[in-house]
Each structure stands twice: as structure tokens, then as C-alpha cells.
């Protein structure tokens, strides 16, 4: 099991947003390693539509933080060539659904280059993708596309849920010699935490889940934008007499079976929670893995609380689609508690 160790009180911790932490991670990585290049649409002068790259072009120049032509396949394709030459590109896809034109480059080249060349030509490349809903975005601005990336061998798929993880995991992604799809939960961009950017938290290597809240009754397995929702649900569940554990996966690939299964073996019950659709979504894989490994510890089938299997709704209806506290608690209530009473 991995838990976040208590850190020494920061000297000058101040509230910082996830967006600021991400920007700081890019800046520090660029300052440390001249091979790190940031590229994408509007990342230069504007600082990105979410302002994550704010100030980078001014500090490092247009050649290190580059406004590219508006063409996602071209952005990722040229980044592949830059990585082939020894650079460490960090690509920004402006929105989840706008990353799809780059899908062929990602699947056919980014994910395969190391394997194709028997390890002779690894591709250290990070693809940042703001993803998920809950910000009132119009069509094509709220997709949860993680299942596509998870289904592609050769990619790491990472998503932070806290300010500290946003910094640490992005640094780890950029430092990785493998390509990383870094999914940024855009509705958490403005979430705040006390954070001292002068003493950024060290982060474990990509691939470790973390227990965000300890509990004995059941495990909520979740990631990214759904982590705060699950923590809220866990608080609300206390009134029902349930003491819920919340596991934040942080990394979908590699998947931390160890931390997840250790939790489920303790609690005997599990619900997987994510915004992505349920059919063919990450929850199906997670439920199968947990069932295969923890069958004799389970008191009830592993349940899923996911987005509906519909195209992402228009903003005025999205609250009905997104997994919320009530829907999570309804699932917890269906975990066959009768046998215990």
C-alpha cells in the first residue's frame, strides 16, 4: 500500500492552483533540461487557453515554447521527429476532443517506436491533454478519452487529482524515457491547495496509486476529476454508517494492482468511479482485475459508477451525466450489506 507520507510543514506554503503547479512543472523542467521543448496551439504569446504555459515563451524564447500551426497530427508528428533527434517535447493538445486528429501518430508511431526498434530509439515525449467535463463546455470540449489511450500498448497514461501530484507527476512524465499521455482534469485546474513551489513535493515514479482516505467498509477506486467527488461521497457516507476508503489511481497505465487489491482485500467491497462511459471504459478492466485477484475477499460484485454511454451532453444537461455523490452512494448501498445485518 502507498499512502502520502506526511511532509514537513512547508516554510512558505501558499494556496496554489493546479494550473499554476502544472505551469511550474513545465518551467522547472525546461530550466533543468534544455532538451525540453513545449509546443502546441496558442501556448506561446497567449500562454495556452488555460494559461498553463503562461510566461514560458517570454522566459525561454519561441524556439523552446512554440506556437505551432493549427494541426494536431502535425504537432505530434513533428514532436516525434524532434524526440528522434534527442529532444524531449511536451505537446499540448488544446482539448480532449481536439486530440483525435493526432490519434494515428500516437497509436502508430509514438506508442510503437521503442518496440519497433528493439529499444534502440525510445521516444521521450509527453502529450498533455485537458480532459473531462464539468466546466460547462460546449460540444467537443468535455470528453473523457482515457480508455482509447489505455487500450494502446506502449503509452503510459497518467492523471493527477491534486495540486502536488499535478507538479510531481508532470515532472515524472517529462523525465520518463517513455511516451506519457498526461490527462489534466480541466475542472480541477482552479482547485487550490497549500503548496510551496520552492519546495515541490517529491513524487513517486509513475505507476503508483495512493490511498486518499482510509476506511474499512468499502473501497472507491477512482482517478482524476472524480477523486474529489469520491472524497465528498465518503464524507457523506459517514451518516449512513459507511467508512469508505478512496484510492486515487494516478496512473492508469501502468496499473497499480498491488495498492488497489490490498485495499479491496481489507474492505471486501469496491466501486469504480469515473466520468468516462461504462461500456468499454476503464471501470470494466478495473472490476475484472479486482475480481480476478480478490474474489475470495469480496462480499459483493465490484460495481461501476460511470458516465452514461452517450455522446457527452450539452452543458445544460451535463450534471445528469457526471457521476455525483448520490449516484456513488446508491452504488455503495447495493454492495450487499444485508448479509452483515
Amino acid at each position: 500500500m502507498t499512502t502520502v507520507a506526511a511532509k514537513p510543514a512547508a516554510v512558505a506554503a501558499k494556496p496554489a492552483t493546479m494550473a499554476q503547479a502544472l505551469g511550474r512543472a513545465l518551467r522547472d523542467a525546461m530550466a533543468e533540461d534544455p532538451a525540453v521543448h513545449v509546443m502546441g496551439e496558442d501556448v506561446g504569446t497567449l500562454g495556452g487557453v488555460f494559461r498553463i504555459t503562461d510566461g514560458l515563451a517570454g522566459e525561454f524564447g519561441d524556439d523552446r515554447c512554440t506556437d505551432t500551426p493549427l494541426a494536431e497530427a502535425g504537432i505530434l508528428g513533428t514532436a516525434v521527429g524532434m524526440a528522434m533527434y534527442g529532444l524531449r517535447p511536451v505537446v499540448e493538445m488544446q482539448f480532449d476532443a481536439f486530440a483525435y486528429p493526432a490519434f494515428e501518430q500516437l497509436v502508430s508511431h509514438v506508442a510503437r517506436m521503442r518496440n519497433r526498434t528493439k529499444g534502440r530509439m525510445p521516444l521521450p515525449l509527453t502529450v498533455r491533454v485537458p480532459y473531462g467535463g464539468g466546466i460547462g463546455g460546449v460540444e467537443h470540449h468535455s470528453d473523457s478519452s482515457e480508455a482509447y489511450y489505455m487500450a494502446t500498448p506502449g503509452l503510459h497514461v497518467v492523471t493527477p487529482s491534486t495540486v502536488a501530484d499535478a507538479y510531481g507527476l508532470l515532472r515524472a512524465a517529462i523525465a520518463s524515457d517513455d511516451p506519457v499521455v498526461f490527462l489534466e482534469p480541466k475542472r480541477l485546474y482552479w482547485s487550490k491547495a497549500d503548496w510551496n513551489p520552492e519546495h515541490p513535493l517529491a513524487v513517486e515514479p509513475i505507476g503508483r496509486a495512493v490511498v486518499r482516505r482510509s476506511g474499512r467498509s468499502a473501497t472507491l477506486i477512482t482517478y482524476g476529476p472524480s477523486v474529489p467527488v469520491c472524497l465528498e461521497a465518503a464524507e457523506a457516507a459517514r451518516a449512513e454508517g459507511w467508512d469508505l476508503e478512496v484510492v486515487d489511481l494516478r496512473s492508469l497505465v501502468p496499473f497499480d494492482d498491488e495498492t488497489v487489491c490490498a485495499s479491496v482485500r481489507r474492505t471486501g467491497r469496491a466501486v469504480v468511479v469515473h466520468e468516462s462511459g461504462g461500456f468499454g471504459g476503464p471501470g470494466g478492466e478495473i472490476a475484472a482485475r479486482v475480481t480476478e485477484r480478490c474474489f475470495h475477499h469480496l462480499e459483493a460484485p465490484v460495481l461501476r459508477v460511470a458516465g452514461f454511454d452517450i455522446p457527452y451532453p450539452p452543458p445544460m444537461l451535463e450534471r445528469h451525466h457526471l457521476p455525483g455523490v448520490d449516484r456513488i452512494l446508491d452504488a455503495v448501498a447495493r454492495l450487499q450489506w444485508e448479509a452483515e445485518s
Partner: protein, 390 residues
């Protein structure tokens, strides 16, 4: 940490949309336009200026290349290659592309361009790994500065642009030459690569081998452009139209485009008009989409014959030289045959070794499963009497 070096982005950063009538073209299109006719050297006055040593070398390489194509196709019939897309008829393009580059430059071939890779010095057995099927890329791209043979059409073009851009940022004077077919010019990645290359003024040369067909689909169904070279103008780079069976013309145009790119002049699009004499691959039946007369007309414009005629007329090719080139090509074919007839030593555990720098826990589990299956198989083979099977 300030490193605001001057790039084309800065130079062109002055452009702002202006309302009419203040609008004016950003670039003069006329110098970018290709010639009306494909550029030719062989059989013209220009050929008299060509370096005899170069012409002889081109001839030897073309003869070797044609023999290699024939041998590789034969290997498919013997089950030693899974498939072979022949470049017979296109040898001049293949050889000129390789010879136009310096050692430090990069070649970005498509799946039909093994001959270009070999002409650049790659071992034929390594070049054929993909088509033999023992692995995907059988060589170290960085060692040879040859990108993996690319199967998804035109997707290697943006790689060439990115690599050339990175090299330029480092001030390395490296040029990338990327090869694509006529069909590939319809792909979105072709468009995006050319656009990025021109905006970044990346030192790239795009060589389109227009061999008339995308498998079965003729060029007329592929594009309505005046020529494929004309597409360059829309991106703001020069387009050059060349006789793709004229090795001397191709070598001249490609060498000039490489020099231009290396000097900071930006990218060039070269269309080489050629013809695929063989079918798409050994698995294709070309008689379904084209007639013998058409093929014969192109055989009469054969790249080796054109070069041999020029050399003979200038007294640069005697029987001895012809025999030497043929013997040399036979030796290459015999070596390829001998080595391809040996089974490649395969280790199935390699399947898991290079997916990530460190295998994920899930891949370690799956590797253990395959290991156990292999061990059981080996044990079964060891304990089963010969001939009885399992």
C-alpha cells in the same frame, strides 16, 4: 536562461491581417512554380556537363538495385519474405535520394524504399526485417540516420520535419529527405508536414515518387492539381518537377534541394515522374487495372537504359564495365539469397522486452506466462519421441 534566437517565426511574425485594399500576397508565387515539363538531363546538352564518375556510379547502383528488387521478389515466392513492394522502374529515384545526402543527413523512407536505404549503406538483410517479418525495424535508425521504413502513408513526413527542425535549432546543418508516393500526397499528414516545414523553414526535402498508381488507383482519381509539384506553391515552398527515370536529373535536383535546405533556404517539394513496372507487391495483380501497352511504353523509358545510352554515347561504358556491374549485382543477390535462407534467430521473449523502458507489472506477468508456455513446449519436444508429435 533567455535564449530568444532568431527563427523564421520571428521573421514572419510581422504579418498581420490587413483589410482590403491593403492586402497583398505574402510571397511571390512565380519563383516557386515547377517547370511545365519534367526536368531532364540524359540525352540533352546538360548531360555533357555531368561528372563521368557520378554517371558511372549511378549506373552501377541502378543495376545493383534492379537485381536486388528481382531477388527480393523471388524470396517472397520461396516464403523467405512475407511480402515485397518492388521499386523496379523507380531505381533512379531510390538511388538518387540516397546519393544526394551526406552521412550526417537523415533519410525517411516508406515501405517501398528499401533500395534507397541500401544505397545509403544499410545491410539488405537488416533493411528487409520488416518485410521478412522477424521484427519491425531491423536496424538502429540513429546509427544509419535512416528512419524506420514507414507503412502508414505519409505519417513519416512530419517526423522528418520535426527532426530537421530540431537539428536546425541545434545548428547541426543536418538535412532530412522524406520519401512518399503519389497516393500519399492525398493524406492529411502530407499537407500538415509540408505546412509545418514551410512555416518553420525546416531543412527538409520531400521527394514524391509519382509512379502513376496508389495500388490500383491512377493519379487522375487522386488529384486535380496541375502536377503534384504544384502543391508546393500553396505552402510557400518551391516545387520541382523531374523525370523520375533520369538518374542524372534527379541527382542534380535533389542535391541542389539538399544544399538549399542546408544553407537555410527551407524545404523543397520534388515530384519525380516515374512508373512502377512491377505490381504493388507480389500479392497484387496489376493486370486488373492497367494494360501491357502502357507498361511497355514505360519500359522503353527505362532508367537503366537511359543512363546506359548516355554513357555509351560518351564512351564511358564498355562491355567490361557492363559485365562488372552485372557481376557485382549478382554477388549482392547471391549474398542476400544465402543469408535470407538462414532462419533468423528469434527470441519470443523479445515481445515484452521493448514495450516500455521497464516492463509494467502486467507485462511481467504476461511474460512469465509465455516463458512457462515456451518451457513446457521445450520439455514436450525433449521428451516426445521423434516423429510422434505431441
Amino acid at each position: 536562461m533567455k535564449s530568444r534566437s532568431l527563427t523564421v517565426m520571428d521573421q514572419r511574425g510581422t504579418y498581420r491581417p490587413a483589410p482590403p485594399p491593403a492586402w497583398q500576397p505574402r510571397t511571390d508565387a512565380a519563383p516557386l512554380l515547377p517547370d511545365a515539363e519534367p526536368y531532364r538531363v540524359l540525352g540533352t546538352e546538360a548531360a555533357r556537363q555531368a561528372d563521368p564518375g557520378l554517371l558511372r556510379r549511378l549506373y552501377a547502383e541502378l543495376v545493383r538495385g534492379r537485381r536486388y528488387n528481382a531477388q527480393a521478389t523471388a524470396l517472397t515466392k520461396q516464403g523467405r519474405l512475407a511480402v515485397y513492394p518492388s521499386s523496379t522502374g523507380q531505381e533512379a529515384c531510390q538511388v538518387a535520394a540516397a546519393l544526394a545526402l551526406e552521412d550526417r543527413d537523415w533519410l525517411f523512407p516508406s515501405y517501398r524504399d528499401t533500395l534507397a536505404a541500401i544505397a545509403r549503406g544499410l545491410d539488405p538483410v537488416q533493411a528487409l526485417s520488416l518485410l521478412r517479418g522477424d521484427w519491425h525495424t531491423g536496424y538502429d535508425p540513429r546509427e544509419h540516420r535512416i528512419a524506420p521504413l514507414c507503412t502508414p502513408l505519409a505519417t513519416q513526413l512530419p517526423h522528418a520535419v520535426g527532426l530537421a527542425h530540431a537539428a536546425r535549432l541545434k545548428g547541426d546543418g543536418v538535412v532530412a529527405l522524406a520519401m512518399v508516393g503519389d497516393g500519399g500526397t492525398s493524406e492529411g499528414d502530407f499537407h500538415e508536414a509540408l505546412n509545418f516545414a514551410a512555416v518553420w523553414q525546416a531543412p527538409v526535402v520531400f521527394l514524391v515518387q509519382n509512379n502513376g498508381f496508389a495500388i490500383s488507383v491512377p493519379l487522375a482519381k487522386q488529384t486535380a492539381a496541375p502536377s503534384l509539384a504544384h502543391k508546393a506553391v500553396g505552402y510557400g515552398m518551391p516545387g520541382r518537377l523531374v523525370d523520375g527515370n533520369d538518374a542524372a536529373a534527379l541527382h542534380e535536383v535533389l542535391t541542389e534541394a539538399v544544399r538549399h535546405a542546408r544553407a537555410g533556404g527551407g524545404p523543397t517539394l520534388v515530384e519525380a515522374v516515374t512508373y512502377r513496372i512491377d505490381a504493388h507487391t507480389n500479392a497484387d495483380d496489376a493486370t486488373r487495372y492497367r494494360g501491357d501497352a502502357e507498361v511497355q511504353a514505360w519500359r522503353d523509358h527505362d532508367p537503366i537504359a537511359l543512363l546506359a545510352r548516355e554513357l555509351t554515347e560518351r564512351g564511358l561504358l564498355d562491355e567490361e564495365a557492363v559485365r562488372k556491374a552485372r557481376d557485382d549485382a549478382e554477388a549482392v543477390a547471391a549474398d542476400l539469397r544465402a543469408r535470407m535462407n538462414q532462419d533468423p534467430g528469434l527470441d519470443p521473449m523479445d515481445l515484452f522486452a521493448h514495450v516500455y523502458a521497464e516492463p509494467t507489472p502486467q507485462l511481467r506477468e504476461q511474460a512469465a506466462q509465455l516463458r512457462a508456455e515456451l518451457d513446457a513446449e521445450a520439455e514436450g519436444t525433449a521428451t516426445t519421441p521423434e516423429g510422434t508429435g505431441r
